[in-house]
C-alpha cells in the first residue's frame, strides 16, 4: 500500500482531478453501456411477445 491515509489516496498526489476524472468517466460510460444492453434485450423480447400475440390473433379468430 502506497497511501498513508484515505485523504492521501483521494488527493492522488495533487492529480485528483485528472486521475479520478479518468476513472469516473470510464466507470460511468461502461455502466451506461450495461444499462443500454439490458434495455435492448428487454425491447427485443417485448417485440417477440408482441409479434407472437399478433400472430395468434390472426390465426386463431375467437369462436
Amino acid at each position: 500500500m502506497t497511501w498513508t491515509s484515505l485523504s492521501d489516496f483521494a488527493a492522488m498526489g495533487g492529480y485528483a482531478l485528472y486521475v479520478w476524472g479518468s476513472y469516473a468517466v470510464a466507470a460511468a460510460t461502461l455502466a451506461w453501456e450495461a444499462v443500454l444492453l439490458v434495455q435492448r434485450r428487454r425491447r427485443a423480447i417485448e417485440d417477440l411477445r408482441l409479434g407472437a400475440s399478433l400472430r395468434e390473433e390472426r390465426h386463431d379468430p375467437p369462436a
Partner: protein
C-alpha cells in the same frame, strides 16, 4: 456463395424467405457438396455455431463467465494500479491513468480488427451471424475509443500542458472513433439489412488501414505521445508491478468487451430472426 449447413426445416429470417425465389430456399436447406470440407475438418464442430440458433444459447452460457471474469480482473487490476503500485518518480500519481488509458486504447484497436474480420467474413461467405457479430462489437469498440481519448486528454493536460494536440497518434485515434460511428450510422440508416451489412463491411475493411497507422504512429512520426511502454521484442520500460496492474486491466476490458458483445449479439439475433420457428419456441418468447 457457400452457406454453412443448417438444420432442415428452419426458416431463414423473414426478409430472406420473402425475397428469395422458392428454389433458392430448397438449395439453402440442402448442404452443398463443398460443405463436406467443413464437416470433416478437425474443428468442424465449431462451424455449427455459425447458425444463429446454435450460437444464441452458446453465447448465453458463455456470457456469465466472461462478465464475472471482467469484474474480478477489474477489481484486481484497480487494486494493484491504484493501491499497491508505487508513485512514478517522473509523473507522480498522474501516471495512474495508464491503467485505464492503455488497456482501453489497445482494446479500441483490437476490437476494430475483430469487427472488420467478422464483417469481411459476412461479406465473403454471406453468413448472417458474422455480420451480426461485427455490429455487436462496434458500440463497445467506440466506447473503448472514447475512453482512450478522454483519459488521454486528462493525462495530457498535467504532463504535456495541453488537453489535445493534432499529432499523428491522437488524430488517428480520433479517426478510429469516427470509423466506428460511421459504421454504426450506416447500419442505423439503411433499412435493408443485407445492404447495410455489405456497406458496413466495406467501410470496416477500408478502415483497417488506420489501425497500424495508430499503432506505429509514435515510431513513424515525431509526436508528443510517448513511445510504447510494452513491446514484444524488448523488456517493458516500466516497473513490473505497474505492468501487472496494466495487464490485469487489459484482461478485464478484454473479458468485458466479449461479455458486452455476446449480450448485444443475442439481442441482435432476436431482432433479426424474429418470426422464425426457432425464435418463437424460445422460453423468452413465450409469455
Amino acid at each position: 456463395m457457400r452457406e454453412f449447413p443448417r438444420p432442415r426445416g428452419h426458416a431463414d429470417c423473414i426478409c430472406d424467405t420473402a425475397t428469395r425465389p422458392p428454389d433458392a430456399v430448397t438449395t439453402a436447406a440442402k448442404p452443398p457438396p463443398a460443405a463436406d470440407a467443413w464437416t470433416t475438418w478437425p474443428v468442424a464442430g465449431w462451424t455449427r455455431y455459425a447458425a444463429p440458433q446454435q450460437f444464441y444459447p452458446l453465447a448465453g452460457r458463455l456470457l456469465p463467465w466472461f462478465a464475472g471474469a471482467a469484474v474480478l480482473l477489474a477489481i484486481a487490476g484497480l487494486a494493484v494500479g491504484l493501491l499497491i503500485a508505487p508513485t512514478d518518480f517522473q509523473q507522480g500519481d498522474a501516471y495512474r491513468i495508464i491503467f485505464i488509458h492503455v488497456p482501453a486504447a489497445w482494446m479500441s484497436m483490437l476490437i476494430y480488427v475483430v469487427m472488420a474480420f467478422w464483417a469481411g467474413l459476412g461479406l465473403v461467405l454471406n453468413t448472417r451471424l458474422s455480420s451480426m457479430l461485427a455490429i455487436a462489437l462496434a458500440p463497445t469498440g467506440a466506447l473503448m475509443t472514447f475512453i482512450a481519448l478522454w483519459t488521454g486528454a486528462l493525462w495530457g493536460k498535467p504532463t504535456w500542458g495541453t488537453w489535445w494536440v493534432w499529432d499523428a497518434r491522437l488524430t488517428s485515434e480520433l479517426l478510429l472513433l469516427f470509423l466506428y460511428l460511421g459504421f454504426l450510422a450506416l447500419q442505423a440508416s439503411t433499412d435493408d439489412v443485407r445492404r447495410a451489412d455489405r456497406g458496413g463491411a466495406i467501410l470496416a475493411l477500408v478502415g483497417v488501414v488506420n489501425v497500424p497507422v495508430i499503432y506505429f504512429s509514435v515510431q513513424w512520426w515525431n509526436t508528443l505521445h510517448q513511445g510504447a511502454s510494452v513491446n514484444l521484442t524488448r523488456a517493458p520500460s516500466m516497473a513490473s508491478i505497474m505492468l501487472v496492474g496494466m495487464l490485469l486491466m487489459v484482461a478485464a476490458l478484454w473479458a468485458g468487451a466479449i461479455a458486452a458483445a455476446l449480450h448485444r449479439v443475442r439481442s441482435i439475433i432476436l431482432e433479426r430472426e424474429k418470426g422464425s420457428e426457432w425464435v418463437s419456441r424460445l422460453p423468452e418468447a413465450l409469455q
